[in-house]
């Protein structure tokens, strides 16, 4: 038998208190008698009795002390480990995604409770069982690999930290599937609050879900209206009860405005803050009140500097392209058909050069480039012209939402895709459009003239142009301004100057290992800042990391977990018999005996 909590043993100090109270309670009343002759006689007789009978005189006290000891014992939550796990190897998968931060009971989050349950499970394992521990959120992490050291396993479990990353136990289960092939008998226990498929897995799920009330700020956005900042926040109430909340708007930690909102259960509400007088770096919106997850009660947004991207369009005439470019915000277009004087233009340091049917002898050293219907041996090779073909899109960010787009082209170059590029337009297996980064420059190439295709007639045409230009003009220090915890942020530092530095929400600084990396250490919530000293000029960019809204919906029981499959879903680990209730019943019995004894004495 083992004890779950040891602190109640401290209450045993009450035993002397009971004895003292018993002595105090027995304040003797002075009672004169004629003589003690007979009383002494009686006392001699009582003393002559057995020690047991002597003890009987104080059995009320003994019963009280016994009751206290039993109650203290009950508080220690004793349990018997049955050691029922027969497998030689045990794999514990703990979901430490953002949703597990929701409260399980008054004292514990779901993750803390999962860790406690997992520790009980470890204790219940027979000695020599190989224990593996995996944490799982958007990816699986092997914390402990096949160790038979229980204390090490307990310590590793204790050290598991919560994350704010969206995810569940699925990556962990995938890892289990790979691991279990090396062993004959494996039991997997998965501690999670969401649906997980345990197919091909020998084991069960321990459900950490409990019904809770939760609300959160799902989204914060901003815009300008008549030169004034307008902020929009979407407040969602995931619980069943209507909630009245104050919504606070902060600008760089300074309270700007407060609004009150009533959100019915299961619904969301949009709150507008007009005429916000703020010129700082970051906005945050926070709702008041206690609920299951406090981290999702605040959401951050970053104000971007309005930068005008300068675009040089070298073309004889392309109305389609010009019209499409006009729809792109934030660009300033200069058009020219004089390729001979291109060198003069380069002094203007354009952010994007679009070469439509013409190409200069010397390509610009800085700035991004887009080539249309033109050969440029310095960058890529054209293979052969094709005629009368249908062009389809390939999967790329440029063709996002345009997966079904196809269009006919009367004449097109098949292109040799360089290593640094990715295809986004194709004819069969042949590449007719690619985009990629060569050194510091983004290069986008299309092997046909818009005039020779029906693409401009397609509804998707302006979107494609918009995406291409956007892909070629994201030239700031960072690619994204608002992400969820655990997401990747691309950092595009200027080459050949000092390496960029990441400033974390807590103020700590981290020098990045390269000029251009995909930054993944976005586990803390708040506003991050990247700075780089570019030849004496300190360039800064900020991005916000928020709690993933998908993980805030912790108020609905996952169907599979709460389903009827009791073989794989449990609410506690097996192998542990909780003795607390039994002991409380014994304590009540003792109290009853004491009461009867008190009445009868």
């Amino acid at each position: 038998m083992k004890l779950l909590h040891l602190w109640p043993l401290f209450l045993l100090l009450l035993i002397p208190v009971i004895i003292i109270m018993y002595l105090l309670k027995q304040k003797a009343v002075d009672t004169p008698v004629s003589s003690l002759f007979l009383w002494r006689e009686m006392y001699r007789n009582v003393e002559a009795n057995t020690p047991w009978e002597k003890l009987k005189k104080n059995w009320l006290l003994i019963l009280q002390i016994l009751t206290l000891i039993v109650l203290v014992f009950a508080l220690t939550s004793p349990y018997i480990l049955s050691g029922s796990v027969g497998a030689d190897h045990a794999i514990i998968v703990i979901d430490n995604s953002a949703g597990m931060n929701a409260s399980y009971d008054e004292n514990n989050t779901r993750l803390q409770h999962a860790v406690e349950e997992a520790q009980d499970y470890v204790r219940s394992l027979k000695t020599g069982t190989g224990i593996s521990i995996i944490t799982s959120n958007n990816k699986a992490t092997l914390v402990l690999s096949n160790s038979d050291d229980k204390s090490q396993a307990l310590n590793e479990l204790k050290a598991i930290e919560p994350t704010y990353v969206a995810g569940d136990c699925t990556p962990g289960i995938e890892m289990v599937k790979a691991m279990q092939t090396q062993w004959e008998s494996v039991e997997t226990v998965c501690f999670t609050d969401t649906n997980v498929s345990m197919e091909q897995i020998q084991g069960y799920i321990v459900d950490m879900y409990v019904p809770v009330e939760n609300a959160g700020v799902e989204y914060v956005g901003h815009g300008m209206n008549n030169g004034k900042l307008v902020v929009l926040a979407k407040i969602a109430n995931y619980g069943a009860e209507e909630r009245v909340m104050d919504v606070n708007l902060y600008g760089d930690d300074e309270l700007l405005q407060i609004k009150s909102v009533i959100v019915p259960g299961g619904e969301s509400q949009v709150v507008y803050f007009d005429k916000v007088d703020f010129a700082g770096k970051a906005l945050s919106v926070e709702i008041t009140g206690q609920d299951a997850i406090k981290e999702d009660n605040i959401c951050y947004d970053v104000l971007e500097d309005e930068q005008i991207t300068k675009v040089l369009l070298m073309t004889e005439a392309n109305v389609y392209l010009e019209k499409a470019l006009m729809l792109v915000d934030g660009i300033e277009i200069t058009k020219s058909n004089d390729i001979a004087s291109f060198t003069d233009f380069t002094t203007q340091e354009y952010d994007l050069y679009i070469f439509d049917g013409m190409v200069p002898d010397v390509l610009p050293a800085e700035g991004n480039m887009m080539f249309m219907n033109v050969e440029c041996d310095a960058l890529y090779e054209t293979i052969s012209p094709m005629g009368g073909v249908m062009v389809a899109t390939a999967k790329h960010t440029v063709t996002e939402y345009l997966e079904d787009l196809t269009f006919g082209v009367s004449s097109v170059y098949a292109l040799e895709k360089p290593e640094w590029a990715e295809t986004f337009l194709k004819v069969g297996d042949a590449t007719v459009g690619f985009i990629g980064k060569k050194d510091a420059q983004t290069v986008c190439v299309m092997g046909f003239d818009f005039h020779n295709s029906d693409l401009p007639l397609k509804m998707e045409f302006p979107i494609l142009v918009y995406n291409m230009v956007n892909e070629c003009t994201s030239s700031g220090l960072i690619g994204e301004t608002v992400v969820n915890a655990g997401d990747t942020v691309s950092v595009n530092g200027k080459l050949n100057v000092k390496l960029p530095t990441m400033i974390m929400p807590d103020g700590s600084r981290e020098e990045l290992g390269d000029y251009r990396i995909n930054y993944t250490n976005t586990y803390a919530l708040g506003v991050y800042e990247v700075e780089q000293n570019q030849n004496g000029e300190m360039v800064k960019s900020a991005f916000a990391v928020n709690f993933p809204a998908s993980e805030s919906k912790v108020t609905q029981a996952p169907l599979a977990v709460m389903g009827e499959d009791s073989e794989t879903v449990k609410t506690t680990v097996t192998g542990m018999l909780d003795l607390r209730n039994l002991i409380i019943i014994i304590a009540l019995g003792l109290l009853g005996i004491e009461w009867i004894a008190y009445i009868r004495r």
Partner: protein, 289 residues
């Protein structure tokens, strides 16, 4: 304390005399008829004259009638000696029905009977190992003195019956009545001493109802009224049961002790009615010759 001797008490005394048949052989001539034939006016029997008989007691009328010398035999009247010992220690100052008052009433009643019979009465108050004993009383007229004396008795101090009784010089055979609660380890020695001094012993054992059936609850500090010694104990049903066992054993042992010394044992509860006292308990007093 109640008035010890009230009008009811006096009216009962007159009837008491009729109910107690006490006879005593030894002692001076007195109002009591002795079983011994002797020198008194009250005729008992005749017998033939023998040599050495007092010629003054020859019945000459009988000689005239029968021509034989007959001697008239008369009931000899002797004065009885009565010693009444009253335990006046503090332990007797106890009880809602006061043990001391009860003891004094019994002493007075016995005194009345004794004086009515023209016997000699000695009142002995036992206190702190000493004996307070005024001169003897005799004759009915002395009863008022006895009452005066008894009314001023104070129950105080520790009791030491044996030391007290040692102070008594028993000159002649007589009857000794000891009125006490008997809380003494030396009771047997007291009896033995009295017996040695040729006394017929009557032990009037006075105890209060509270002593027979105590009703203490909780934790009490029992304080001995004589020694001021104390005992701390928590009263429980079993504890009181043990006490009652001790009490019964005490009564039984005392009764056995009385039998051993041919003493008349009269257990009295201080709440007994006067009738029960006078016509029940005391009526048992019938000393053997």
């Amino acid at each position: 304390m109640d008035k010890i001797f009230d009008s009811e008490f006096y009216s009962k005394l007159h009837t008491l005399r009729m109910s107690i048949a006490m006879r005593l052989a030894a002692g001076m001539s007195g109002g009591r008829k002795s079983n011994a034939k002797g020198n008194s006016v009250e005729f008992s029997d005749f017998r033939e004259y023998q040599l050495g008989d007092d010629i003054r007691r020859i019945d000459w009328n009988a000689y005239g009638r029968f021509d034989k010398l007959y001697i008239k035999l008369f009931m000899e009247e002797k004065e009885g000696i009565f010693q009444i010992f009253v335990d006046t220690s503090k332990s007797m100052d106890y009880g809602a029905a006061h043990k001391g008052v009860c003891a004094l009433r019994i002493a007075a009643a016995l005194s009345y009977v004794v004086l009515e019979n023209s016997d000699r009465l000695y009142l002995n108050l036992m206190k702190e190992g000493k004996l307070e004993c005024p001169k003897s009383y005799t004759g009915k007229q002395a009863f008022s003195k006895v009452i005066d004396y008894l009314e001023n008795v104070k129950f105080d101090g520790a009791g030491d019956l044996l030391s007290s009784v040692h102070h008594k010089k028993f000159d002649r055979r007589g009857m000794s009545v000891l009125i006490s609660d008997g809380y003494s380890e030396d009771l047997e020695d007291v009896f033995r001493y009295m017996k040695f001094k040729n006394q017929d012993i009557v032990f009037v054992h006075v105890l209060a109802p509270e002593e027979r059936d105590p009703s203490f609850e909780g934790t009490v500090k029992l304080i001995d009224s004589e020694t001021m010694g104390d005992m701390r104990m928590t009263m429980s049903a079993s504890m009181l049961k043990s006490y009652k066992n001790s009490y019964r054993r005490f009564i039984r042992d005392t009764e056995i002790l009385c039998k051993k010394y041919s003493a008349i044992y009269i257990p009295v509860s201080s709440d007994d009615s006067l009738d029960a006292l006078l016509f029940g308990a005391l009526a048992k007093i019938s000393p053997r010759r």
